[in-house]
Amino acid sequence: MIAVTVSPAVIDAGVEFAAISMTGAGGIATFVGLVRGDDGVATLALEHYPGATEAALEALAEQSVARWELIGARITHRVGDMHPGEIVVFVGTAARHRGAALEACAFLIDRLKTEAPFWKKETRGDQTSWVEPRGSDDAAAARWKA
């Protein structure tokens, strides 16, 4: 079961978790990225490339399901304006065994960071700036090369 959603709607972790756990799997791993409350960002704006984003996320989900024999993979990514404490992205994986679920979850968030066309803009006070890509993200994504 693959489910990919890109939307400006607020992400409810409970709803997301319920969806990925309905697979009857023994292990569910999730990663949730939130707008951090500790570095002065008042608003985080997420821009994306409609159509290409969903395709990129679906391709990643399909790769993860094939590579780790997942029962389910779920990616829900918010776009538009959001605020500290709100969820930017939910990644959930369901598998018979925990190792597969945990690895696939790390794979999805690492690769999503470098392959899906999203761009973040932060507003701090009256300053607005686009987030610069991080070399550590490229390194994290590269470790999953098959």
Binding site: G33, L46, E47, H48, Y49, G51, A52, A55, H77, V88, V89, I109, L112, K113, T114, E115, A116, P117, F118, W119, K120, K121, W130, V131, E132, P133
Partner: protein
């Protein structure tokens, strides 16, 4: 050849629009050629594209290096490195 151009993030902001439709001449064969051609006649485009190393592209929604051929592309997107998740 008619191409729908899409811009995202600070590329979009610097160019001042999210999309435009262009008809480059036949000798514009790659994404890099297209960027050069756009920059040639527009100071705004030239400024947005000044640092080629910070540009990424997709042709018909597939991510490609800047030296990739346009082929019979209908949609070309130009944008900064992605920062999602």
């Amino acid at each position: 050849m008619t191409i729908e151009l899409l811009y995202f993030a600070w590329v979009r902001e610097r160019i001042g629009k999210a999309s435009e439709t262009v008809s480059p001449p036949a000798d514009v064969a790659t994404v890099a050629d297209l960027i050069d051609w756009l920059a040639r006649d527009s100071a705004v485009h030239a400024a947005a594209f000044v640092d080629r190393g910070r540009l990424r592209a997709a042709v018909d929604q597939t991510f490609v290096p800047l030296d990739a051929p346009l082929g019979s592309a209908r949609e070309v997107a130009i944008f900064p490195p992605v920062t999602g998740g």
